[in-house]
Amino acid sequence: MGEQYVLKVNGKEYALRTGGGQMLADVLRDELHLIGTKKGCCQGECGACTVILDGKAVNSCMIPVAKAVGADILTIEGLQTEDGLHPLQKAFIEEGAVQCGFCTPGMIMSAKALLDEEANPTSAQIQEALSGNICRCTGYVKIEKAVQKASEELRKEG
């Protein structure tokens, strides 16, 4: 038996019955089947599970679901629109910033949180914003380039 919760994810409301101890990452993946959010360490140390909660990048593996009630949650699935992929998603693909892809959703969400606040970030700001996301494959250079490219694209779109 669990409690009733209403979560607002990617602009939609979902009514759930779940235990108060469930972490948001598990609820997103197991209850809502939004499996774009990945679970790496489950300890808040790798950033693979990063989502945006009320505008802030957070490790969803360390957010009890009750904490997320009433908040606006944005996951990787929420970036794509009817018009297609978000500029960040396109840039990651085009710049070769994806290898195994496991860190990618979390990386993109950290980048999204950055670009929502700072439209023209410096290299240092990009590195700082992504420093909570660990990548085993790419060496980070192409990831930074992809974020830079996406920021240029978004500024062109106005």
Binding site: G20, E45, V58, A66, K67, S110, E128
Partner: protein, 294 residues
């Protein structure tokens, strides 16, 4: 790999301090306070700590303040590290604190984790707590029946042991005497990488300067004992000394007299830490003086 999922009875989002305290008492079980949760959730998952219910204070408005009251900077018990880093008041009146808090964990952690929790978790080298310590803050702690004040040493009763019982008490405010003119501070750290890394050593300094001499200096260092440790011998020797490289280095060397670091497989041997500590303390003193244009 699966998340363990903490099996506690229920999770209450408190709406006020009174509500939180009432809920703690009324649960009739092992209920604990949670703010950001980035430490306590790991402890609950691993079994290091136990709780049957959690009372979440992170949305209580009265605990989210960063305000100036007289000559004290008041930081509420639910203020996050990121809020501290961004605060113009903190940057002006307790700059070392902003420098310490920005090194905690990662941005994802800093967006939810609190300075109060950083102190209460009672790890020796908690960056926010080490930076805070040189300001000699007061901690306002509420229980259902009373309010008390503690100082920082009282908040540490042993390695990883807090002077606050989060099943009965809430740290509502941290009150920091503001940094005044002719006072300069800084926070420094040695680490394996710049994020997601606990410190190998950290240090904070607050000094008051008069005509190119130290009127007084406070030096906090970690992890060299239980909680942030004051370099008492160094502080006593530097008091009244003129500000020059030789005196600063001599003072920094004396920090070893109050330091008792342990060996850690990942974060440095005791010998390494003893070799590096005087360098870090000296760097931190210089950093504080440079902040004041000296």
């Amino acid at each position: 790999m699966t998340s363990h999922g903490v099996k506690f009875m229920d999770y209450h989002m408190a709406t006020s301090v009174a509500d939180a305290l009432d809920t703690l008492l009324s649960k009739g079980c092992n209920a604990k306070i949670i703010a950001g949760g980035t430490d306590i959730l790991l402890d609950l998952q691993s079994g290091r700590k136990q709780a049957d219910a959690l009372v979440d204070i992170s949305r209580i408005e009265e605990l989210k303040r960063i305000v100036l009251e007289g000559d004290e900077l008041v930081i509420g018990g639910a203020v996050t590290h990121d809020e501290i880093v961004r605060s113009e008041l903190v940057k002006k009146y307790a700059p070392a604190l902003a420098q310490g808090c920005v090194t905690v964990g990662s941005l994802q952690i800093r967006n939810v984790a609190t300075l109060a929790g950083n102190v209460i978790n009672a790890q020796p080298a908690a960056d926010g707590a080490v930076a805070l310590s040189v300001y000699e803050p007061r901690f306002i702690i509420k229980t259902p029946s009373k309010t008390r004040e503690d100082d920082l040493p009282t908040m540490y009763t042993g390695f990883g042991k807090s002077g606050l019982d989060c099943s009965q008490e809430i740290l509502t405010e941290i009150r920091i005497p503001v940094q005044k003119e002719n006072q300069y501070s800084a926070f420094s750290r040695v680490e394996l990488r710049k994020a997601l890394a606990l410190p190998m050593l950290n240090c904070a300094v607050l000094c008051q300067v008069n005509r190119r001499s130290f009127e007084w200096i406070r030096i906090s260092m970690a992890p060299v004992g239980v909680g942030p440790v004051r370099a008492a011998a160094a502080e006593a020797w530097l008091k009244g000394k003129s500000i020059d490289d030789a005196n600063i280095q001599k003072g920094a060397d004396l920090a070893l007299q109050d330091a008792n670091p342990r060996s850690n497989v990942l974060r440095g041997s005791a010998k390494y830490r003893k070799d590096v500590l005087p360098v870090l303390v000296s760097d931190c003193i210089h950093k504080a003086l440079e902040a004041g244009g000296l």
